[in-house]
Symmetry: C2
Subunit: 190 residues, 2 copies
């Protein structure tokens, strides 16, 4: 049976083919030609979607950042910095829910390769910059904005670490609990 | 005049030679043989001190981690998690003061190379793990310990970003102020 050869379905098949091949034979040993072949597209199509071997594992980064910065831009006036950052993570919860089925496979692959770990760190840094910038447009000075963005990332990691990966409501509640815990940590200083 | 050829002075000269050469001709274009030659030692001596081209830029990581985890281990009973982390950063202030003269040159070189950026990120991750582990030995459960370690890192970045790089007292005060700011951020949630 012929399969569709381009657009979103091809992109999704390339992502899945890359996860499979990187998992089976390792990131370094896998070529874009092999990924394309398993996805049933040409290598040329691969490169229409992704610039290199790494990016196929980081699809959705732009959507995540756009979703989160839009949530900050559209927030009601007067929300304090960390509340804005948590609003941004809250807006991204559906994306985390959608991404969860492959998140662990993806994380295991990233862990195996310094080049992929660097890309993952760069993604975190890009998100911190984007959130810092979005807070800046809300009048929050840069050092405070950066502190709020980094604190928010720690809160999100804490909340999502306890998440079962199933419902958005649970993840949202866990982020709120993590923020409460940060509040306790940050105020019980001697 | 003959210069000492081994031990701590050689190590210090290798660090300086690497900073010079990486700055002058780039990290990728520089060989360990060139670094050794400029430091007046053999390449064999280079490899007695550093396992590869990257590590010469990350000397002192072990001392930093040992200093910080020792500060947590020796803290009075009853200090809450973030206070323990800030005590650890406080204990490391003399190391930051000592490292400051080369910190900017070093940071500029790291920025130019994905391999060095990965190494720097790995260093941050190693520190987070070490602090999380040290808090664990004080009875703090892992998710809370990790949140405190990450929050502490954000606080330190915030404080050191405003530092003029000169006195330890200033850096210590800036870390305290940054912790206060995190406390405000984390409690002004709606």
């Amino acid at each position: 049976m012929a399969m569709p050869r381009s657009g979103a379905p091809a992109r999704a098949r390339l992502r899945e083919a890359a996860l499979e091949l990187y998992g089976e034979q390792g990131f370094d040993a896998t070529t874009t030609a092999e990924i394309a072949a398993r996805a049933g597209v040409t290598e040329r199509t691969y490169f229409r979607h992704f610039v290199d071997k790494r990016e196929v594992l980081f699809d959705g980064e732009r959507e995540l950042i756009d979703t989160m910065t839009a949530a900050i831009a559209s927030a009601p006036a007067g929300l304090p910095p960390l509340a804005l950052v948590l609003r941004a993570y809250g807006a991204a919860v559906p994306l985390f829910v959608a991404g969860r089925p492959v998140a662990e496979r993806r994380a295991r692959i990233i862990e195996t390769s310094p080049a992929l770990r660097e890309r993952a760190h760069a993604k975190s840094a890009t998100l911190t910059e984007a959130l810092t910038g979005a807070l800046g447009t809300r009048g929050i000075p840069e050092p405070t904005a950066r502190l709020a963005a980094r604190a928010g990332a720690a809160v999100f990691e804490h909340g999502s670490g306890a998440w079962d990966g199933v419902t958005a409501a649970d993840l949202t509640a866990l982020i709120t609990q993590a923020a409460d815990e940060l509040g306790r940590l940050a105020t019980e200083l001697p």
